[in-house]
Amino acid sequence: MSSPLAGDGAARPSPFAAALKDAVVSGVITFLLFLPLVGFRATESGSGPLTLTYRFGLCATFAILVAVLRLVLHLTIWRPGRQKAARGTPSPLAAVGGFISPMAKPAFFALALFYPLIAIVVTGGLTPSRYWIDLGIYIGSYVMLGWGLNIVVGLAGLLDLGYVAFYAVGAYAFALLSTSVPINDWMAGHLGENFWALWSFWVCLPVCGILAAMWGVILGFPVLRLRGDYLAIVTLAFGEIIRLVLINWTDFTNGGAGIASIPPISFFGIPFTAADDGFAARFGLTFDPMHRIIFLYFVIVALSLLTALATLRLRRMPVGRAWEALREDEIACRSLGINTTLTKLTAFATGAMFGGFAGAFFAVRVRFVSPESFTFIESAMILAIVVLGGMGSQMGVAAAAVFMIGGMEMLRNLSFLKSDWLLGPDFDPTLYRMLIFGFAMVAVMVWRPRGLVSGRLATIFLKERKKVSGDLVKEGHG
């Protein structure tokens, strides 16, 4: 295709002409790509056969947008004359990171601690702050899940696509234990009528973690000899198997209907009720259902911190060092006498245990579990948080959880787009959440394949601790 603007004939085409040509070509390709599924739509007309409706205008709009975007990019960022930054020179982002990172941890910690207070003050009361504190709990669960999976993926370098299986094991373990009649009767008979109703979460929490870790060992043992991507697919298969069993084994799990009326959380044995021995009365407060929500928030913060601290301590122990060595080079590890199977298994089980804790928390927060909550998308989301955050970096994972879960939640609130002069009242922003999520996953990978925080902090160092740039880290098979 020759452009009329390439005036100099036989000579090299001018950059502008090349850019224009590229823009037109990519516009045409976009139009063709979008033509079948955006240009046409098979619409259901009642119970009758499908009919076609046409949206060629929309299709053309996308094509023109892509063409214009590429043209602008070619003339600015991708200009051929522009000097490319040499490999190895620190990017301005890294400099900003170096300035911020010493303050990030305390600031993040303080924010996490005072978040309910801030929410209450800003919204002006307990009841109106409910939405924001719920959002905090929601993000907190993903921070915890991300940190749990970070042990498996980030430290040991094992790609686990079925992490949600352990989340499900934890949630179902708590749901089944706390609602099962024989256990309730036994507990009531031996430990007093009210004990189980009040203490069930605190008693079950370690049990859920142990059960999940056990499942981690059971599932991990046969498959940990496999290479990275095989391991990913097998863990995915296990995640799906557990979900399908939860759906189909109706006698045990109540199938797709799920398990409801799970007892609520108590303040270490003191119920959050309006009664005389309730939390509010004991502490001289006026009763408010928000007390329970705020307590839940602090529970998830504590559980997340537990995960983070355990990870930090484990990294300093021989087993943690073995994990990181395994991630970098499995063959070297084996040559040095590290038992790779056992090392992988401990990582798998530890990660699964924290997944189980998070699952138990999920069950006590929502007070209802069903297989719907444990789909592959959930696994992909947790994995995306870990990878986008920069595998192995705790702050990166936390930041990614806040941005992704918070951002997806904010997409629900884009009702201003519904105004008549933008996209019209039929526009439903929630429909686009997963679409944008998938797009963001691809875009971040292409832009920064090693995640937001790509550098590595050496665990063992001589004299001075230096950051290792992500470009210098090479991962072996694992």
Partner: protein, 305 residues
């Protein structure tokens, strides 16, 4: 015996569809060592393209000959799916070639989510039903009222698969493109040094894989008469299982694995429980990988230090 025969026919039909998808997985894995997670969704997109083309031909242009319609639908679906797959490789995988191991896989998972939600947004979340095509059957056996039947569409699927596989075998074994592909599979760097355009070969691999998946997509649409934006995930994982079972990287293995998975699934549904048929397929994946990682026809993987 009669039930067995009927399930054999059903299983081979389903297995043909899985086999065609599995070739896409195994080819891409062989050449760039990556699990193309989005391939199942490419298959689903092709079924939707087939649906649109079918509606366009029958309701708007009013063509009545079913074979003409199917032929045009197949060609249209192959062209547009090939284009889609080419664009996916260009945008999401090529920039990550040579990056660290997990990056293309994560990108592929993102692409898979993007594709299924794109179809959901563009075409709506409900099932898209089509009127039944080729409804006639041949009765092979009549045993006290239990008829063993071979539907025309099953015959069509099996014959078309066989023809396509023959053509595909010719392409890989006898043409310059196939030679370049096999060279890249053995050693990408060396192939590049010897003048093979590696990027172009990889692109063409993606396009060919997607075209076979497109045929599978149109067959799926024709066989079941309904398609949904969610339909890519489970067939995708099953086809991947087929590729692993046959030995990933091996093309005859992918077809063999596909047929086996199809047979296992139908026999499991017929003789054991239909609820656990997906569990059976996923368990086979795990069992194969644990006890026979090289698959039925694959080469054992040797890790060089």
């Amino acid at each position: 015996m009669d039930v067995f025969l009927q399930q054999l026919i059903n299983g081979l039909t389903l297995g043909s569809i899985y086999g065609l998808i599995a070739i896409g997985y195994t080819m891409v894995f062989g050449i760039i060592g990556m699990v193309n997670f989005a391939h199942g969704d490419v298959f689903m997109v092709s079924a939707f393209i087939g649906l649109i083309a079918f509606l366009l031909l029958t309701t708007v242009l009013g063509i009545t000959s079913i074979f003409l319609v199917l032929a045009i639908v197949l060609v249209v679906a192959m062209i547009f799916t090939g284009l889609t797959s080419w664009a996916i490789e260009r945008v999401a995988y090529r920039p990550l070639r040579g990056s660290f191991r997990l990056a293309p896989m994560i990108s592929a998972i993102g692409m898979s989510i993007l594709l299924s939600n794109f179809v959901q947004v563009a075409q709506g979340p409900r099932n898209k039903p089509l009127p039944p095509m080729l409804p006639d059957v041949i009765v092979l056996m009549d045993n006290n009222g239990y008829q063993v039947t071979l539907a025309y569409k099953q015959m069509f699927i099996m014959i078309l698969t066989a023809v396509l596989l023959g053509g595909f075998w010719f392409l890989v074994q006898k043409t310059p493109l196939g030679r370049a592909q096999r060279a890249c599979e053995q050693d990408r760097k060396m192939a590049a040094l010897l003048g093979v355009d590696v990027d172009r070969t990889i692109s063409l691999t993606f396009i060919i894989g997607a075209m076979l998946a497109a045929v599978a997509g149109v067959m799926y649409l024709m066989y079941y008469g309904v398609v949904n934006f969610n339909d890519g995930f489970v067939p995708g994982v099953k086809a991947f299982t087929a590729a692993v079972l046959g030995g990933i990287g091996s093309l005859p293995g992918a077809v063999l694995g596909g047929l086996l998975i199809g047979l296992i699934e139908t026999f499991w549904s017929a003789y054991f429980s239909i609820e656990y048929k997906d569990v059976a397929a996923f368990s086979i994946l795990a069992i194969t990988l644990v006890f026979m990682p090289q698959g039925l026809l694959g080469r054992p993987e040797v890790e060089k230090v």
